[in-house]
């Protein structure tokens, strides 16, 4: 794993415009940086990243199987009792999952460590699947990178195939907080994939979803919603006014309800409890668990529910080293052993491993200027070269 500086493509501004990315002469493409790329060997990708990610996915499922049958665990995760049966039924009924991104700390040697699993509403999807791939093709054409470079990137094809294999009937609805351009863009991309898979689709704002007399959710054209692809976290859905109506609505959600267990950072503590010592897991505990003494004051404290690097605190030998702000301070926390991101000239890459329908399908690297990867991180492309 190397970080290699490289010239930007000559047509970067045009490419950004074509794909609807914000572009400024001074800052380039917002959320994207192609002034460098990361180079991996095939062995690193397959044996250190993709293989372990799929293995972890299997362990995650064992953990979910246990959680849905143990009310104490669901309570520990802060999931309201009214949803316990609903989550369990969605798991036992085999409701299919589509996307997830495991965030890993890895420096090219030794086992990658799972920092967290964005199992419910992962983003940077379009940058990973489309923009990064286009960069590879164009950078090779322009001679910026070796001609025989490859990339770990089957994300687009995998999503299209998975949509086609889900057995969806009728219209598939897509919903998010459409006021957020990034979220809307990601969802529109997923919608494009669904269309490519032959599905009939419609996109709307979560806030525009209606409820009818029979407990069905409706769209703005008075049609009943039967399948909903949402870029809106399960914990929000469960907490909001219509949340109580969700179980009886019989809507098929993508991601399915049981993903609420995996997108909760309490899963890191539960995974460690079940699979302590696994090379790709870090020790992790619910805050207040006496077991956390084993971390000896060097750990990362994270809220059970937070996003984009918010409300993270890093401690070393009992002293706070680094903290990020955010609105997610309330509620439970976990503490996790430290596996700092590697540093490459002041940049800290976080490796996002895409799982599409539980198969490792691609890599997305986000770089920050601190050890905490926040919303200001930029996606940096990668290549595979022997």
């Amino acid at each position: 794993m190397q970080r290699i500086p490289v010239s930007e493509r000559s047509g970067l501004a045009d490419a950004a415009q074509m794909h609807g990315f914000e572009f400024t002469a001074a800052g380039g493409v917002t959320g994207w940086d192609e002034s460098a790329y990361y180079q991996f060997t095939m062995g690193q990708i397959q044996e250190d990243l993709a293989g372990p990610a799929e293995e972890l996915e299997g362990l995650c499922f064992e953990m979910v199987e246990r959680a849905v049958n143990d009310q104490a665990i669901l309570e520990r995760l802060g999931i309201a009792e009214t949803f316990w049966d609903y989550l369990g039924e969605s798991w036992r009924g085999g409701e299919k999952n589509l996307t997830g991104r495991m965030d890993l700390s890895y420096d090219g040697t030794g086992p990658a460590k799972l920092l967290e699993y964005n199992a419910d509403t992962p983003t940077a999807l379009y940058e990973s699947a489309v923009f990064q791939w286009e960069w590879l093709e164009q950078a090779a054409e322009e001679g910026l990178i070796p001609e025989n470079c490859d990339q770990f990137n089957d994300v687009h094809e995998a999503i299209v195939q998975s949509f086609a294999a889900m057995g969806i009937e009728g219209v598939t609805h897509f919903a998010c907080n459409t006021d957020i351009e990034d979220d809307k863009g990601t969802l529109e991309y997923m919608q494009e994939c669904a269309v490519e898979a032959g599905l009939e689709t419609r996109l709307l704002a979560m806030a525009d979803i209606g409820l009818d007399d029979w407990g069905k959710f409706t769209d703005t054209e008075e049609d009943v919603i039967t399948t909903l692809v949402k870029l809106y976290p399960w914990e929000w859905i469960m907490d909001e006014e219509f949340g109580q109506k969700v179980p009886a609505s019989r809507v098929r959600f993508i991601e399915p309800p049981w993903k609420a267990i995996l997108s909760n950072k309490g899963m890191l503590a539960l995974m460690w409890e079940m699979f302590e010592g696994h090379p790709n897991l870090l020790p992790a505990y619910f805050e207040g668990d006496p077991g956390a003494d084993a971390l000896a004051g060097t750990y990362v404290r994270k809220p059970l529910l937070s996003r984009q690097g918010a409300n993270i605190q890093m401690y070393r030998d009992g002293a706070l080293q680094l903290a990020s702000e955010g609105p997610y301070g309330d509620g439970g926390q976990i503490v996790q052993g430290s596996a700092p991101l590697p540093e490459y000239g002041g940049k800290y890459p976080l490796l996002g491993l895409w799982l599409i329908a539980s198969k490792a399908a691609g890599l997305c690297i986000r770089e920050s200027r601190t050890l905490i990867t926040g919303p200001d991180a930029s996606v940096v492309p990668h290549v595979i070269l022997e």
């Binding site: 991104r101 964005n118 419910d120 509403t121 992962p122 983003t123 009937e169 009728g170 919903a175 998010c176 907080n177 006021d179 957020i180 990034d182 979220d183 990601t186 704002a205 979560m206 806030a207 525009d208 979803i209 209606g210 409820l211 009818d212 007399d213 029979w214 069905k216 409706t218 008075e222 049609d223 009943v224 870029l231 809106y232 976290p233 929000w236 859905i237 907490d239 909001e240 006014e241 219509f242 949340g243 109506k245 997108s263 996003r307 984009q308 609105p327 997610y328 919303p375």
Partner: protein, 168 residues
Amino acid sequence: MGVSLFALAACGEPEVEAAIFENIQQCISNGDASPEQCEQNFREAKSQHAAVAPKYATASDCQADFGAGKCETAPYRSSTGGSIFMPLMAGYMMGSMLGGRRSMAPQPLYRSASSPGTFRTADNRSAGRSTGRTKVARSATSRPSVKTATRSRGGFGSSGRRFGSGAT
């Protein structure tokens, strides 16, 4: 010239084969389908009727569209506890067993007051005037949508307004 799957209707929309009957007895007398098929298809169409039929808040609104004596109360209540009205089922379209599109499901049919000779799907698409084996516009064989009346909106979205992006 080979046999083409679709024939073109006058309006230009492709037509597909279908079979339409007013009731089980008519289907059995016709003889193209077995009595079991006639009954099974009727049951499936009837089971969708309450969900897909157009809904009205008053009997007079329903009768204005479907005619006097052609409406019934739906097995639902409005949010205020009032009755909901819908047209009587006037016939049914068979599934794919008598030709037509693959994966065509049986569905209920209705007759409107303004054009009582014509069968209409629950989505108000014409299914022609004939019973027995016939040809109908392809769109008339689509699965009818569930009819509803939204009572409230805005029960989702508050967290998004508070926190912004829902992505991770």
